[in-house]
Amino acid sequence: MTAIAFQRCGGCGATWYFARGFCPRCGSAEPERREATGRGTVHAVTVVSRAPTEALRRHAPYTLLLVDMAEGFRLMAHGEPGLAIRDAVRAEFHEFDGATLPRFRRAE
């Protein structure tokens, strides 16, 4: 099943999104790779009306989010229109210019 992967430090418990060779907080090597539940809270939101590239133009306007995930890390992703700060969200996945990307919807 498609899921959002993140890393967790076995030493200090820190979590983060982008894959790294060691913990950016305490330096412990060999962090664990885990899969997120997909649940989180909107930390910030913006709507892109003027797309930066020709390829993105057909998607505009589109919603960009910073989401604080239940597991403690923060990531940037697409979201459904109308989301606001502090909204509870859950991840779905969609095809976007040939890649499978997370896209968040309001959680019931």
């Binding site: 982008f18 790294r20 060779g21 060691f22 913990c23 950016p24 907080r25 305490c26 330096g27």
Partner: protein
Amino acid sequence: MTPSERKGERMPLSAETDTTTPRHLRDKYAIVGVGETKYSRGSGLTTRALATWAIRNAMEDAGLRPGDVDGLLSYQYGSDSTPSTFVAGDLGIRPNFFMDVHGGGSTTEALIGMAMGVIEAGMCRTVAIYRAFNGYSQVRIGGTGVRAAIPVVGDALHGRPYGWESPGQWFAPSFMRHMHDYGTTPEQVAMVKVIHSEHASNNPKALYPKRVTVEDVLSSRMICTPLHLLDCCVETDSGTCIIVTRADRARDCRHVPALIRATVGRCCKPRIDMHYQAGPISTVAAKYAREILWPNADVGPEEIDVTGSYDAFTFTTLMQLEDYGFCAKGEGGAYVSDGTMRLSGKRPNNTSGGHLCEGYTHGINMVIENVRQLRHDADDSCPVGADGKRIHTHDYREGGCRQVRDVELTANLGWANPGTGSALVMRRG
């Protein structure tokens, strides 16, 4: 004390703090940590990962934690590396200062001076300087391919359309003129590679640890006169890092600090827009840099125990040692071939094998090596004692020791081109 309480105090006048000479900075700063990744031809890693691992290794070497490093300085040639901001995130460093500069050779020593300056200015406390690039598997400095398609624009039209477009080709007029003016021979020049290969054979990290002979160098194919293939350094993938902080903080670190006596940063010959216009072209920027280096360090070349003279090519080592005054003008050929530079000689040079044999890093690995020499702990194959330090045999035969006896003072001579150079003198703390 509040600002109003301070009002009655008299500010010291600038005349009372001697800022007319850099004497007050002598030995005030130190290199406390050094680190590198494997030297390879195919790292299989991003430059971000190379930088991150090099800095991590240097922090571990120093006994520092991410919160202890609050400054980052890096250099890149073109866009062949990853900037500080990305690397800081991977290391958990929150920079109070960072700067990513353009530059290749001669940048290391210049950035060490800049690190001292930004700490002195109160901008941050401890600076990690790194260089990370896939110099073989991604951007080759002498490379063909991608570079061929880049348009030649403006001022570059006076050089590149003549097939004058690699460092070897750019520097060759100086080298050839040195041979013409002083009778320097190909055999003398080849001895630089021979000696550096001897040192590399005692360095488990070296990319090219095999010892070579003068005949090997002279029979390797000609690249551009006077440079044979083995006169040229080895394009390498690696990440490298050194950590600079104030000497009083250095006492908390793991190793004996390498105190910084003096630095020179990218000192130039006249007409650096096209340096062949001015002066004898068989003389390089070191002629000017030495007027800054030795007075600031308050020592002279005769007092230096170990040198690290940039060896992008065999000839660059020779010209710098000569123009920094390690021998008389014109006698560089004799100096590099008479055994002085050997591990067993009077003043060993590039004891790790340098760019010609250990790996090409645009200068930083030669500073790393001298820091280790000053600690009396070169990472050779000697047995490790109970205290974790190697027991050096000083037996310099192949595969053996490369720690020089009783090293107290080192000099690094960085090279960008015949017209620009940097330098660094360090002392054992």
